[in-house]
Symmetry: C2
Subunit: 521 residues, 2 copies
């Protein structure tokens, strides 16, 4: 009986809430409809055509002599997949006289499926372009002897626009927002105030210019990040400029703790990925603890029968068996909460030369996002593995990717450090930047530079050779038999070249990044 009354009571309560909720969720303002379909905005196309410099026929018949050296630098929109023809094939030849090799990437697919792959890639690329292209990328020319003075760059939505000009009537046209005046000047006639097309006229030129200083733009067709191309014309003259429309971008700041020396434990998290090699991992942890007893170590583990790794400042994550190398790296960095993350392989050993403070100092004082160190092999050879990466635009077949050993510049004030595009498996980086670029979990096995390729254009990369970590020997002494786990590890980590792994890699370069060719030395 009581419970029945309770239920009734509840029912009533619920229905009241429901009605109120409905009442409230009733739209109180009318909303316009927006077209966000994947078509290039008409305005973009139109202005592109309008604005391209028209051929001047008086000029076209003036003779000239081409300079191949420079002309060859101009974007050809077409790249050929060729390396350097090989000389004699001595042992260590590649090491002594590094030659450029070229790898066509379509070979990752069967001839039968290739056409289908190209078709799909083209489709995906088209929609990528439609999503990423904004009117702010269109070429705009300021014409000579225009009486109009106007901003050509740097105007943001809801700023006031400044103009100056010398005619008595002027028309302004926007496409994604409305034009208003923040103040009215005497003796100026305003038409279309609050609309996308506004015209101003006056018999007094100064007044008209004064009025123009109060013209404002308000975005009405919402988009999180685009640009409106505003037209600005008077008798016979026309100018175009774009107004950036975007949400204020919020920073991602990290609290780096109180001032003084760098507190590595507060600033840095060490991230690694392990698979079977718990002995090596333990050596790494022990070596880290010798120098950084309280720095957090994040471990991603996709072993079949994972052992529990525990202890202070150790975070052990267990993945499904054999999920793979980049999946593990991506997991590890996804869990970092400090400003910086240090990537190490599970078979590295910290020594007195592994001074993380130095790497932190570089990132704190420069605009770099990521700085690599050096790895010393048991042989004593120390590697920084610096690579420059460049992209040569191609056509439908895709672009050409070029990787070369080397770097761009030495860094002022850090004689041991350089600016480059790719570094070795031992680096310190801004956590938010690494998380933005990410390690593509589709890369299951041998992979490394793929991360730097995905980071091109967003990662500012450096490399210092005076911060060194040791690498547990990889030279197998003939008379030392390999441990069981090492054997299994090798089987997974280093599959035969012809295997799926290489195919997956080239397949991704071909499809995901839309390359047709990779050349490297």
């Amino acid at each position: 009986m009581r419970s029945l009354r309770k239920t009734v009571l509840l029912a009533i309560l619920v229905s009241v809430v429901l009605v109120l909720a409905l009442l409230h969720s009733w739209p109180t303002r009318t909303y316009t409809t927006v077209d966000v379909w994947q078509r290039p905005g008409p305005s973009v196309e139109r202005h592109l055509e309008e604005r391209l410099p028209e051929l001047d026929h008086r000029l076209s018949n003036i003779p000239f002599h081409v300079r191949d050296s420079v002309a060859s630098l101009l974007a050809r929109n077409g790249c050929i997949c060729e390396g350097e023809s090989g000389g004699v094939n001595l042992p260590f030849a590649q090491l002594l006289f590094p030659r450029v090799s070229a790898h066509p990437l379509h070979t990752a697919f069967e001839a039968s499926e290739l056409e289908e792959m190209k078709r799909r890639r083209a489709k995906e690329y088209k929609s990528f372009q439609k999503r990423s292209k904004t009117p702010a990328d269109v070429l705009i020319i300021a014409e000579a002897n225009s009486p109009l003075q106007y901003p050509t760059q740097g105007v943001e939505s809801s700023h006031s626009l400044y103009f100056a000009f010398h005619h008595l009537q002027i028309n302004i046209t926007a496409t994604l927002g409305t034009l208003n005046v923040a103040a009215e000047v005497d003796g100026v006639k305003i038409k279309g105030d609050g609309e996308m097309h506004m015209s101003l006229s006056s018999s007094l030129l100064p007044n008209l210019n004064r009025q123009l200083q109060f013209v404002t733009y308000t975005n009405t067709l919402f988009h999180p990040s685009t640009a409106d191309t505003v037209q600005f014309e008077t008798e016979g003259h026309q100018a175009v400029f774009s107004v950036k429309i975007r949400h204020g971008v919020t920073p991602k700041l990290y609290n780096t703790g109180s001032k003084g020396d760098y507190n590595v434990s507060a600033l840095v998290t060490i991230a690694t990925k392990t698979f079977l090699r718990y002995d090596k991992l333990q050596d790494l942890i022990d070596s880290v603890r010798r120098y950084y007893p309280t720095v957090t170590i994040v471990i991603a583990d996709d072993s079949e029968n994972p052992k529990t790794m525990s202890g202070p400042y150790i975070e052990h994550y267990i993945m499904p068996f054999g999920k793979g190398w980049f999946a593990g790296r991506n997991l590890a960095v996804s869990q970092v909460t400090t400003k910086y993350v240090l990537w190490v392989d599970d078979d590295f050993i910290f020594t007195a030369n592994t001074k993380l403070e130095k790497l932190v100092d570089v990132l704190e004082k420069t605009t770099l996002d990521l700085v690599g160190g050096a790895v010393r092999e048991a042989t004593g050879y120390t590697a920084t593995y610096r690579q420059t990466i460049s992209i040569e635009p191609g056509e439908e077949d895709g672009d050409c990717l070029h990787m070369r050993r080397g770097f761009h510049h030495v860094i002022q004030g850090f004689p041991n450090c350089v600016v480059t595009d790719g570094v070795i498996n031992f680096f310190l980086a801004r956590t938010d930047k690494v998380q933005q670029v990410g390690f593509d979990p589709r890369l299951a096995r041998v992979a490394h530079l793929e991360f730097f390729i995905d980071g091109l254009g967003s990662l500012h990369v450096g490399s210092c050779d005076d911060v060194i970590v040791n690498h547990a020997t990889k030279i197998r002494l003939p008379w030392v038999s390999q441990s069981e786990s090492d054997k299994t590890y090798a089987k997974f980590r280093y599959p035969p070249a012809s295997s799926d792994a290489t195919h997956t890699k080239n397949g991704l370069l071909f499809f995901k990044n839309r390359f047709q060719c990779l050349t490297r030395n």
Copy 2:
């Protein structure tokens, strides 16, 4: 004896490799030094001052009448933290007449530490600005009656520049690269070819203009993404435009499988985070399998004594105990390899109304990155939780964050869908975009809209109310006692408001995103 010979042999081999390696790593070209220290480039500042429209004194004394309605829209660079003053406080008042409440965020810190926090935040923000600001953001004005014709936008490094003008001598100055000519025109004198400053002169105007068409810009001071401000002057006239310098951005394309209807299993991965509630999780999985038997489900689990969840297309990740809500979400999405990821809470239930194909269709046909659905409560009330988010610029104290229920536009062709800034906990999104924005693992407990705040300006968000998932009831019937796991869960998931969780949230909004105030209704 034999092993000794072996060792010697090995030693020799190693030293040979070492020598060769050294030889090879010897720098073969000389590198310049670059200044990447965190200072604003002088050129940026200089041009900023130079280019700002100078006050015209003839104009300043023309009278005008301010229009507050519009003037108030102009960026004031200062925001006040105030909500709507409350009326009567009836039950459901907030639901019926939603009022705007304001939350000052500095309260997340003790008065004693606040000043120190502000100091640190200011420092971090300064370096963020130095890293993210490029000359391409500076305001540039095209002056009236200039004889120069030049590009004002859209020029990229290593493109050729087009000019036209009407004087016989012209100077061009770059700051991050060199100017060359791709061809030489008869009767034109070229000075400073291949340098940062080039001047051209000729007695024949057409020839000079022809020559200008062959002027090229080559970036020499490498930076992955910046802009060079090129000056372009002739007697008495000067123009400035910026050349974009950046690595070609590579797309991240996904192979969506062969054409035809949408293959949800090939396109979508379902990601969720669980903690203790295995019964609910199992209900979710069963309900999913009823409609999508082969779609992959990624589960992040930070329970203290994790049960193994296994089965076809199920990936179970085990985290350290209590790592938290966003850490789990970030882990789950870090493992997704399909084009789209669907976020669901572990207490959702799929029904016949949970048509993922509809959401896929919206993302495939529009430029949206993320589209939310609707969640139906046991009461029958269906919520989409649409929010618009805006940022009002403030000064040193930080910006003001405004969240309001509602949306921007209805989407053309999808009458049930709208464009907005934030949606409910049930959404389909482009995997690469979600991975870029990320779920900040520092948010351990109750958190959701923080993801959309971090995504402002990069995520294009929509919401459709015709794709519905059910929510396992949360109304606790008085006579049904709560299960043990539910109790423990509630303890962790919903800590008292005064607790660390809220402090952490407000602290992050204050420090990480640099807000001073949050207002919402």
